[in-house]
Every structure is written in C-alpha cells, then in structure tokens.
Point group: C2
Chain length 360, copies 2
C-alpha cells in the first residue's frame, strides 16, 4: 500500500515464481503508468513476463480462456492483473482455468480442485475490492446474467494499492466505482452473513466515505480523495469476502446484462431505496450506517445518491417485472436482512429509477 509500492516492494513478486503473464485491458494500464511500473519491477527481479492486454469489460468465459491459454504458452508461474474489477476478475478466472480443464458450462460453481495460479492484483479503480476477495464475476451468457465464481483458490496472493494509478480516471468511472465500493460496505454491513469483525471493517470503510462522498458530489476529486477511495474500496472488499453481497447486487446484474448500465452505477441506483427498506425492517442497522456516513436520514442519503448519479436511465414496467422475477431467485435474497417478495424488488427498481435527480 502506498505511492510507488509496486517498485518499492518488487521483491514480493519473486515469491510467486520466475515467469508471469501480465493481464490488462486495452488502454488504461498503459496510460496510468501501472503497466510500466510492473514491467520494471518484474525485470528488476529477473522475472520473465508476457502481456495479455485484451481483457474486455464484464469479461466472458472465452476471454478468460484465451488469457489462460496465453499463460500456458508463456509457461507463467503466476498472473499479474492490472486494472479495474473486470481485469482483476478475469485474471483470477484465467488463473483457475490454467489449473482446471473445464467446459464452459462447468465453470460456475466448480470446486476448482486443481487450484489456481497465484495472482498479484493491482487495482486501478477504487471500487471492486477484487484484489482481496475470492470472487470472480463473469458474464454468464447461458443464464443471461453476471455470475460469481467463489472459491478460496481465487484469493489473490498479493495486492498492491497505489492511489496514483487511479488519479487519471474520469469522473464517471470514479463515481461509479465508488458507488460499487459503497454498496459493498452497506450491503456487507447489513448482510445476514455479517459478524462483528466484518461490521467493524464496514464501518471503517463507511467512515472514509463520510468525507469522500460529499467531496465526490462537489467534484473535488483530489489526490488525497483518490487514496481514501482506494482504501475504502479495499476495506469494503474485505467485508464482502466475509459476508457476500445482498439483493442490490442481484438486482444490479440484470441492469448490467440487459441495459448495459455500469456495475457500480447499477448498484448505486438501487442503494437509496434499499437503505430506506432496511430502515423500515432493521432501523438500528440503517442508523449505524447513517451515523458512520455522518448523514442525518435515509432521505438525505437518497438525495446524495441522486446527486452522484445525475440523470437516470429509465426502465419499462416489463423490464422491472422481468428483472424482479430474476432477482427473487438469486441466492442474494437469503443474505438480505428482511423478507423479500418479487413485488418488493419491483418497488425497489421503481423507486431507484423513478424519482429523477433531487437537488440537495
């Protein structure tokens, strides 16, 4: 953690092997300097490497498979993933595919008995927390949604957190990824699988957001805010590694799969109504979240979300019906701290997309 940590702590890579595959998206790792730092760090340690720079947003199994093949051809001992959640998740999935010979239909829910190559994860957005989780979320065309692989073998062996790599992100990505991390902290805090440890970490993340969200809303995106967001997203990642997510994420997946709404934004759209729902059923949980955020009421929270989200997409009644019918079947329902019907979920969609932008 910290500025320059990839170069400063380069010797850590040596523990993972003598040959690496670097995985990135098409551009950002070149632009923000992270790829150059990693290449210099690996060279300095005498570690051979090759580059796979074709990771797509919301990665598919074929994309991960292609990367796995590149790792095999390069005889890579480990993978270095540099990017946002898509790249990190693809890196973890590719690392598993190298060690497990699976048909497309067998990837999700597979026990991954072969394990996975070690992964060094270098986030260049402050949202996913994937650098500290056992999850890899992939596009699942068969089920027409995004599906989470969850396996201990997918925990990265190393993570480097350098806020510098997030400094050039455009405002929209900064906000969307922050909303993803915020959603992890909020959902993790209330999740049925939460425990005192995960709740303490969630509150630590939310306390950082108490400063960061107003600054984001006011467009005061400075270096220190970048560092804070990266730390908050990392903590929120640790939270969901323990608690998983709740109905917000299940609802968001349809928004991403069918409406192409960015993952973090999709969560953010639901988060205001969700916290109001929590306040109705578990008022003490909602109050603790609001206190940590230094926010007075769920109304004020929703107004802040609306301000961050700006003009909203629209959903048709048919879409709301279809997405609600999907979400109610997700395992996330059982981790949500109140009883939910498909109608309740439809109401959350309506509220999330309905009110438009409320000025604070």
């Amino acid at each position: 953690m910290g500025r320059g940590c990839v170069k400063k702590d380069a010797s850590l890579f040596r523990k993972l092997g003598a040959s690496a595959l670097i995985m990135t998206g098409k551009n950002s790792a070149r632009q923000n300097g992270s790829l150059e730092d990693v290449q210099a760090a690996l060279s300095g340690q005498g570690i051979a490497f090759s580059l796979f720079d074709q990771v797509e947003p919301n990665p598919s199994i074929p994309c991960c498979r292609e990367a796995a093949r590149a790792a095999q051809i390069a005889q890579a001992d480990f993978i270095v993933g540099i990017g946002g959640g898509s790249v990190l998740d693809a890196s973890k999935a590719a690392a598993a595919l190298v060690k497990n010979d699976l048909l497309d239909g067998d990837v999700f829910g597979n026990p991954l008995t072969g394990g996975a190559l070690p992964v060094a994860a270098i986030p260049t957005t402050a949202g996913t927390g994937s650098e500290v989780t056992q999850y890899a979320i992939l596009t699942n065309d068969e089920a027409q949604t995004k599906t989470s692989l969850s396996n201990e073998a997918l925990f990265p062996a190393l993570a480097f957190l350098d806020g510098n790599y997030t400094h050039s992100l455009p405002r929209a990505i900064t906000v969307n990824t922050a909303l993803d991390a915020l959603s992890h902290a909020v959902e993790g805090y209330v999740a049925n699988k939460s425990d005192p440890w995960s709740r303490a970490v969630a509150l630590s993340s939310l306390r950082i957001f108490s400063h960061a969200l107003p600054a984001l809303a006011e467009d005061k995106i400075e270096a220190q805010l970048r560092d804070s967001l990266l730390l908050a997203s990392n903590m929120a990642g640790v939270v969901i590694a323990h608690t998983s997510t709740t109905i917000v994420h299940a609802m968001g997946y349809s928004l991403t799969y069918f409406k192409n709404i960015d993952h973090g934004r999709a969560n953010g759209l639901i988060l205001g109504p969700y916290l109001s729902l929590i306040a109705k059923h578990k008022p003490e949980l909602a109050q603790e979240i609001l206190s940590a955020l230094h926010i007075e009421s769920t109304h004020e929270f929703s107004a802040l979300m609306d301000r961050l989200l700006g003009p909203k997409e629209s959903l048709s009644p048919e879409e709301i019906q279809a997405f609600s019918d999907r979400a109610i079947k997700a395992k996330h329902v059982g981790n949500t701290p109140c009883e939910l019907s498909a109608e309740d979920i439809a109401t959350l969609y309506q509220q999330g997309f309905g009110s438009g932008s409320i000025p604070l």
Copy 2:
C-alpha cells in the same frame, strides 16, 4: 466466532489433520469448559488427540520443547492451544520446534525454515491476540527478558473465539488482559510501522474499549462485556501482527521478568504516561486515540488507567535505571513515533509508578 463455535465449526479441525496434541495450562481450560468442548469436537470428527496440560505462565524454551516432544510421540498432525497468551504462544513455539531441530540458543531469531505444525488457537483470555499473530513471546533466560519469536509460520491456521470461555476469569486477570489488548491497540495505532489499514482496525478496537473500559472500572463485568473484550483483543492482535509493538512492551518485559508483574498490567502501568508523551510529540495521534475512546484528555486517560490498576508496585531508582538501560536497546525504540533517550524511558517508569491511585 461466537458462542459454541468450537462444536458448531468442528469440521474445520479436519483440515489440519487426523491427530492432534491439545496444549493447556494446569487448570483453566478444564474449568471454563473449553477443553471438554475441544475433546468432544475432535472426537466427533474422528481425530485422535492427546493432552499436554503443563504449560507454565511466561513459558520457557524447555517447556515448549517438552510439548514438542509430546507432539512427536503422539505423531500429532497439528496442535490445539487452549488458554491465555502463555499457552497460545507456547503452542506456536512447540509447533515450530517439532519441525525445526534447534538448540536453545538458536530459537530466537531463527528463520524456522522447517515451518511449523498447524495450530488451532482458542483464547480463554481477552488480551493477547496471539490467536491472530505471528509472534510467540517466550521467557529468554539468557538475555534476562521476554523475547518475541516472529515468523509467518507461527500464524495459527485456525482461531475459535467463544466469549463463554472468558466468563469465569477473575477480575484481576480480566483487567490485566484487557490492559494488554488496549496497549496493543494504542501502541499499534501510533507505531511507525502502522498504515491506514492497521490504524482503522486499531480504532475499531479502541471504540469497543470506549464502552468496555468504564464498565471494567465500575466492575460491571457482564456477558456482553466479555464478548466485546474478546473481539477488541482479537482486533488489537491483528493490529500488532501488522505493526509490532512499541517501547511500552519493551519496558514491560523487565517488569515481568524481574518483578513478576503480569504482562498486561506491566503495559498498563506505562500506558498513561506513554499517551501523554505521544500527545507532546504527535498530538494528532493522541487526539485520535482519545476520540475513539470517548475520553477528553490524557489526564482523564491516566486517571482511568490508575483506577483500573489500583495500588501500584514500587520501583527503586536502581531498578528504573537498569530497566531503562535495557529498554533503550530494544528494537521497539525504532517503532516508537518519537525520539527516546534512556532518560525519557526512566521518566516514563517514574511517572507510571509514581502517582499512586488518582480518584476519578
């Protein structure tokens, strides 16, 4: 974590092997029900076990060696340590001695290239945090102090936190172990090796202490307080696993070695003057600690410590001189966030033992 977790999550033991050595002190694991729970859990999983119940307070190398021999005779795949810091540390050291053939003089600072048997740690006091650290503190007769083994191989593979096991602890042990944990949180928060993550965890621990310390001082030791203290000590353990401790611990070791003052109490005696020293050199750090504790001033903090400590032992000028000369040579000096001379340390001893009990 949670009541009954040893039995509820007994299947976790199976990951560690088919044969265990249980290590305890002479009595408490029998009295608080933890030994019975562990034996039932292991039996239920078909795991063979034998018992070594001779761990002494402030364990020595010969004691750990004897336990290691018992593990070898039993062909144990892993060790279950049940007890306070002494038992947990001895379990970890014994686990290392099974795998490393070392002369007494080579134990401290050894790289432990042989690794260690996996350890399942079950704390029955709320203080040490040893269940989540890479440390084992042993009596070092050659150097006339307590010395810390520090090695990644010493991280326990499992920890079970059940507050029930701490419910019958007498007040003195409850207070002393709480002071140890508080010292970990305070020292870890200010340590030069701290980082934003460790500081967030330290604050989470301190926030628990903000309720727990007044309750302890008022002798309101109820079940929920026990659970809170166990969580706070566990978090503080995670903190020092990252940050190590500072001069307070180095000063305390002489108090324990030469004056037979309990480890936690030894730290507690120094903690008030230490926070005042921090406030002089790093006022923002002291203020953040006080805020998390909901305490107004370093004076109020010292008064609370005095109330918890009760009547104090005395130190002669010669002892202060000798202990200060030892402490200034400890590596802890470099992790303390201000310049320190032997005179500064002598002043801390004087202040810690000088004022007697100040009524709140």
